[in-house]
Symmetry: C2
Subunit: 430 residues, 2 copies
Amino acid sequence: MQVDIGNALAEVATPGIPREALDRLDDRVAAAHERIEAGRASDEHGYATLNQPANVDVDAIQAAVEPFDDCENLVNVGIGGSALGAATISAALDSDVDAYYLDNVDPKWVADHLETIDLSKTALNVVSKSGMTAETLSNFLVVREAMEAAGVDWTERTWVTTGPEGNLRDLAEKHDLPSLPVPDGVPGRFSVLSTVGLAAAALQGHDIEAILDGARDADDALAPSLFDSPAYAYGAVNYALDQRGAGINVQLPYAESLETYAEWYSQLWAESVGKDGVGQTPVRALGATDQHSQLQLYRAGPHDKMVTFIRPQEREDTTIPETDLEGLSYLGGLTLGELIDAEFEATEASLANAGLPNVRIEIDRVDERAIGELLYSMEAATILAGELYNVDAFVQPAVEWGKKATRGLLGGGDFEEADEVAEKTELTIE
Amino acid sequence: MQVDIGNALAEVATPGIPREALDRLDDRVAAAHERIEAGRASDEHGYATLNQPANVDVDAIQAAVEPFDDCENLVNVGIGGSALGAATISAALDSDVDAYYLDNVDPKWVADHLETIDLSKTALNVVSKSGMTAETLSNFLVVREAMEAAGVDWTERTWVTTGPEGNLRDLAEKHDLPSLPVPDGVPGRFSVLSTVGLAAAALQGHDIEAILDGARDADDALAPSLFDSPAYAYGAVNYALDQRGAGINVQLPYAESLETYAEWYSQLWAESVGKDGVGQTPVRALGATDQHSQLQLYRAGPHDKMVTFIRPQEREDTTIPETDLEGLSYLGGLTLGELIDAEFEATEASLANAGLPNVRIEIDRVDERAIGELLYSMEAATILAGELYNVDAFVQPAVEWGKKATRGLLGGGDFEEADEVAEKTELTIE
């Protein structure tokens, strides 16, 4: 993986980072790296994330999914960090096993899935560290009932990924389900390179050792200077541009298979640094499609944003047939890959030309190794950013208010937050 | 459709709009409405959009798709406004015809589609006003070749939607293809309620008269005051919050079937008001899923954003089975709809509690009529916002630079923009 921050410099963009400022920031990167390494050394909460590639028990993962090696479908019931990492790998890599992520409680959408998926050929993974996540456990109950209605023994089709106690752990023990632990010290959004993200990949037939090899390469590339470490370069530049007014960071992969990656990154970044009144807002986009949707705004709108271009350097390609279409003969004989890559470079240059800061991330190709490298690098980038922002990257206290209010509204206890829902200030136009 | 702007008021949120400021803004809304009505009266470019529901030729649409009434798949080759409107309707409404939108030139993704879709049972719609869009024409050439390779007569399976001249018009004449005109005066991103957006809906068996009825209801609801017009209330509040620091507008539908709607809105808004250094950035999200991804940032991060909640008031629902799971008995016997609606209200209240401005849009249910009403209302909201921002909402000049650069890079002519690509400032860390 390589990161090109040239278009984030003040000589190109406004906001932009003066080279001297980057040098000064590098002192903070060195200090942050030292803090991160100390956290890793003692397996401290959150920092332990970066030790996962060395510590994860691949054999346990393979054993947990082995009973399902005849399945045609994976249904993953989990939400947030219990879905997005695995979903990112599923979307990136081809598999004969179709994966469905039930990460929402939209009733019609859930019912539509259960109507179309052959549950007798499905492996069901239920993922919740606490065993208490309302959306996940509700969906589990619905899926379990659908299996029973279809004459499928759910206890033969299910494994759980959960903490040492709680509802899912109890179920696993009671019904002798395969189970995997959620690792200690690894917040959900950082869990892709653990049991939480890798079991689905193993079930889908992906080479999880190769994913981990990529992650270990990214680990080896961490260094006490942003000029020596692609991951830290990215985290530091995001922070430095945010400080200078780029409060938005558009994730713009030029590969359909990386569209879910942009969602994963957005959770990772938003929940980690979005606190104490700070935090850059990640925005999910897709190249080349969004050139015809968002580029006008990016190029001609306010300079409140940066754009992160992401692409594989190699692609499986498709040739454009020769053509006598008027004015388009130049396309004939090119490949779609050449077209999308030219659009990538042209769009990048068009933003630089307009002085909008942007960064280029390139991976070798979309395969196991490169995905592992990318995911690990972004975890490290985010942890570094947490140090630079001076926030606790590993907590998400702000989501509790809504959880209590929801529970109160549904009769799950007395919560003053639920009372506040009824007091909404209304000004309705109809 | 109703719009509740209570949580956008200064008494609730920061930034927020004082009620007196809303009253003053309403004078500008009245003037803008007058300008819009004058533009409509003379079918002026852009403003003509709002006349589409009255003017669109439904019979011509039905006739164009009638030859394909036996198809099982729709493949729509078009990008930006030539895809997103139709895709929004496809995603919102159930159909026996599967729709695929080839709106990107990712080579592997295109090839994967062509491998899995039965082209002999496919209707192909090629959509480009100019007949010159590089991505669209390239994909058309690839799809046509795939049809030929599969022994499918593409001239029997294709209709075009295009302007009065150009490559697609020529092809239609040469091969006697069904064709539909792209309406005059309607920019691509505003074309959903025209031939461009409605033909795919007709092919999929949707009641396009009902869609237009909904749009006409929304038209009837336009009025010279934001307090009388939900569409204008929304456009005006977005503008007023942006002026006060909410440069980001998160689109947060609580329905999977409206996820593509958020993409459509994002194009509509971004290309229309993103110019001359201004324009609020739309962000696509999804409830309840993103509560576990973005809510931490929204509630505890910078107050540089507003959130737009969107939901249907009625849903097809699914009951959660009774359960003895510890601590979760309150969920048993509820419905997933009750759960997601409680989460909607709780999340909305949680942002209000944190002083983050938000707006609630409610539609009756996700059906033809309500979708037509919503889409039309957002077009009107965006046009109104163009007046308030004092920009030309109907042009997108900033995308030209990159198009020229792309063309130059691919040998399609001499363009100085292409030279600038080679001069990139690099600072690469690997």
